[in-house]
């Protein structure tokens, strides 16, 4: 069976080598369970922090999108304006290419809106009578340039029938700034924690190599290539990555569940009824995939630093 004539093909040998390396690499962490659990937990925290910021950004970004697509412009009409003038104004607004729809909101509707608002309703109950202006609700088209919407607002402000135009530009700018900061923070923290992951895995793999020095030396003497020796350690990195990714996702769901009430009440203060959304199944698999890639890459960097071929002498 054994001999030069029966030597397995390089491809077959390659796949068998990987199969064994998977078995071996996945068995390393089980030999020292407490140390492995601590390493996985540390890696999971490293993944969790950028993941948390990114997911919060996803939530806010989605919220921002919905506000932007609502494109709410409120045009308050002067009290003495008659109905035909208002209708003319609505027609003019609708003719603008930026506008999706425009309609008159009568005073009863405005009253109803005020009464449903938790905070404003307290004041409206105290005031016996109040005059409300006629209001035209304008919805802009989705994906309009900000400058076009601003031009529309300016044009409306110049109309003699218009008392006041309300456009929540400042709030949107602030929200955009907040979400951009969150995204940037998630990028910076991802980069920072990538370095930490490389350091942690470098240390873990360095310890494993030191403990398997005799084995590595022997493997090299009986003909194992550097790649063959490295494979087991690379798969160990992948193994740690799988569990660290899963744990990071668990951390994320737990923290969202914990923060959900707080965030909801905070957003309610701004008149927005939302709750934090975690990741969907595809995003969960993507996170675990990324964590595997990161730990594999970190293990490779760590192994390059170990210079296995120098162990032999």
């Amino acid at each position: 069976m054994i001999g030069s004539k029966h030597t397995p093909s390089p491809t077959l040998a390659y796949f068998r080598g990987h199969k064994r390396a998977v078995r071996e690499g996945f068995s390393f962490p089980w030999k020292k369970p407490i140390r492995s659990v601590l390493t996985i937990a540390t890696l999971a925290i490293c993944f969790f922090i950028p993941l948390f910021l990114w997911t919060v950004w996803l939530n806010y970004d989605e919220l921002k999108q919905s506000w932007q697509t609502q494109g709410s412009i409120a045009v308050f009409v002067k009290g003495q304006t008659d109905e035909s003038q208002i209708n003319q104004l609505i027609d003019d607004i609708k003719a603008n290419p930026v506008v999706e729809s425009a309609h008159l909101i009568n005073t009863d509707e405005v009253k109803q809106q005020l009464e449903t608002d938790k905070q404003l309703s307290k004041f409206t109950k105290l005031i016996k009578s109040y005059d409300l202006p006629q209001q035209i609700g304008v919805k802009t088209k989705i994906s309009q340039e900000k400058s076009d919407v601003e031009n529309l607002v300016k044009m409306l402000e110049q109309r003699p029938q218009v008392e006041y135009v309300s456009y929540d530009q400042q709030w949107l700018n602030q929200l955009q700034g907040l979400t951009s900061t969150l995204l940037r923070m998630s990028h910076v923290s991802a980069l920072l924690f990538l370095v930490i992951i490389i350091v942690i895995l470098g240390n873990t793999i360095g310890n494993e190599i030191a403990e398997h020095k005799q084995e590595i030396r022997l493997l090299e003497l009986i003909g194992a290539s550097n790649a063959q020796v490295r494979r087991g350690f690379l798969y160990m990195g992948v193994f740690l990555g799988i569990f660290a990714g899963i744990l990071a996702v668990i951390f994320l769901f737990v923290s969202f569940w914990w923060l959900d009430d707080l965030m909801s009440s905070l957003m309610n203060n701004f008149g927005v009824d939302v709750s934090l959304k975690g990741l969907n199944l595809i995003q969960v698999f993507a996170v675990i995939g990324v964590s595997i890639l990161v730990t594999w890459f970190a293990a490779r960097v760590a192994l390059t630093g170990q210079r296995l071929n120098e162990i032999i002498d």
Partner: protein, 228 residues
């Protein structure tokens, strides 16, 4: 099979482990390298295993110049050689069978083929019943038999043994030498570094005598055996 041409190996300026050593070994030959400690026996084996490179001269194995073999080709070269160490170098966390099979697994053989051949090799060295033992549960002689089985299980062209009987009593040493002779009869070239003159005399094989890094004698089996 092996050709040393004016090979020298030095560590630093003044420490010369081998000085201008030349010899040839035919395929299928079995020979001993002997001499006192520090004579250069192990250095020759280390050069042949490419654990070190020669400072000067040329070493050819199977017509291939290994003096300047790039490191990427070293594993493939080592796969054709079986190495036996004085300290056995067995992995204590693996069973006897796993230790032997490792040599075939590295070469890409399936687990079933590797273990089947490992069992056959273990039978050949006479300790088949110890297959599932761990190295630390074996005597020194048994551990060395495992080391020998691991070296020949992959049917190498060449076996290099560094003081294989170093820690063993004469009877056990003779038994191990009989294993080497049997392997040699199968066509494997065997180079043994040993200072056990009793054994060397008994086996009547070619002997290269080294002293302070120089090859001072080359006795063939036909001639009278070297007596210090």
């Amino acid at each position: 099979m092996i050709s040393f041409k004016r090979v020298s190996k030095s560590y630093g300026k003044d420490n010369k482990a081998l000085k201008d050593v030349s010899f040839d070994v035919e395929a299928g030959e079995m020979l001993f390298l002997t001499g006192h400690s520090g004579a250069g026996k192990t250095t020759i084996l280390r050069l042949l295993m490419l654990m070190q490179y020669a400072s000067y001269g040329q070493i050819r194995v199977n017509s291939m110049d290994i003096s300047s073999l790039p490191s990427s080709r070293v594993p493939a070269y080592r796969k054709k050689i079986g190495m036996i160490f004085q300290d056995h170098r067995l992995l204590n966390n693996k069973t006897v069978l796993e230790n032997i099979a490792l040599s075939l697994q590295i070469r890409g053989y399936s687990d079933s083929v590797s273990f089947k051949n490992a069992r056959a090799a273990l039978s050949q060295v006479g300790i088949a019943e110890k297959a599932n033992f761990y190295p630390l549960e074996l005597s020194s002689g048994q551990q060395q038999r495992v080391g020998i089985a691991r070296a020949f299980v992959s049917k190498p062209d060449l076996i290099l043994a560094d003081e294989p009987t170093g820690n063993l009593d004469p009877d056990l040493s003779l038994e191990l030498m009989q294993i080497f002779e049997n392997l040699n009869k199968q066509g494997i070239t065997i180079v043994i570094a040993s200072h056990d003159l009793f054994l060397i005399k008994r086996l009547q094989k070619r002997v290269l005598v080294l002293e302070k890094g120089e090859l001072i004698d080359d006795f063939s089996p036909q001639k009278n055996i070297y007596t210090p």
